[in-house]
């Protein structure tokens, strides 16, 4: 059952990611990106990471993608203004290069995965609630990175306001 579910979700996620890259109109890209995010969130639930799955849906499928939609709406590109995509030769070249990356990664998996599969399934994650564990670690061991992350978000807010401000003539 879990295996069938994994394969269905993986195919949906990969197909929508392919559409994100290869469809021409940005609005279609964003809609398929939302589908990819939801597929990933369900994969996280399959991995017993419920909190991350919820954050994925709220932050990515909710906030980030709505931001993209707003920017596309603001720019309001007509068909004529859409950037011309490169020639087939370059498409083929790019696809071959990214496939080469995947081929390069496979030996790494082959060497890492059996070791970890041997260690795995000691099951202390399933005992306590996922949210409990994350909260405990986040507010004790990882408190300093947590605070730094909040500063990063503050910097991003200020930076966005400064960049997005109306240009003054000087």
């Amino acid at each position: 059952m879990e295996t069938i579910l994994f394969y269905v979700l993986a195919v949906v996620t990969l197909l929508s990611a392919v559409f994100v890259i290869f469809l021409r109109r940005p609005i279609h890209n964003v809609l398929f990106m939302i589908l990819t995010m939801i597929g990933l969130a369900t994969l996280f639930i399959l991995l017993h990471a419920e909190f991350i799955a919820m954050v994925q849906i709220i932050v990515y499928a909710g906030a980030v993608m709505v931001l993209f939609l707003f920017v596309i709406m603001l720019l309001n590109l007509e068909e004529i203004d859409l950037p011309r995509e490169p020639r087939p030769l370059r498409w083929g070249f790019g696809v071959i290069l990214s496939l080469a990356l995947v081929v390069m990664l496979f030996p790494v998996f082959k060497s890492i995965a059996p070791i970890i599969n041997g260690v795995a399934q000691n099951g202390d994650l399933a005992a306590a609630s996922n949210l409990d564990l994350i909260a405990k670690e986040l507010f004790t061991t990882y408190l300093l990175p947590f605070e730094i992350a909040s500063f990063l978000l503050l910097a991003a807010i200020i930076g966005t306001v400064v960049i997005g401000r109306k240009l003054t003539k000087s």
Partner: protein, 100 residues
């Protein structure tokens, strides 16, 4: 039985799709979206490792990656809007002032 390899291969394929998007597309917004796709692929392998190693650290790192991704998207899209206001285009071939 779904093993760690399944998730790692899926994650690698998603990452390669993100790289292909960055290399192939000329639309600044789609390139930002491909970056998001790559970060999501990395998140997937973090969560898979967290599950199969029985440790919560992977999921905490995913939270920090999400924070960075959100900040990056906000600033990146603000830059895209500013560039569009000034140049009237988001084709990255036309925005090559800083490209040696």
């Amino acid at each position: 039985m779904v093993t760690l390899e399944h998730y790692l291969v899926l994650s690698a394929l998603l990452f390669a799709l993100g790289i292909a998007g960055v290399m192939l597309r000329r639309n600044l917004i789609v390139i930002l979206m491909s970056l998001e796709l790559m970060m999501n692929a990395v998140n997937l392998s973090f969560v898979a490792f967290s599950r199969y190693l029985g440790s919560i650290e992977g999921q905490i790192f995913v939270l920090f990656v999400m924070v960075v991704a959100a900040a990056e998207v906000a600033v990146g899209l603000a830059i895209a809007v500013a560039v569009f206001k000034q140049r009237g285009t988001i084709n990255i071939n036309d925005i090559s002032l800083l490209k040696w």
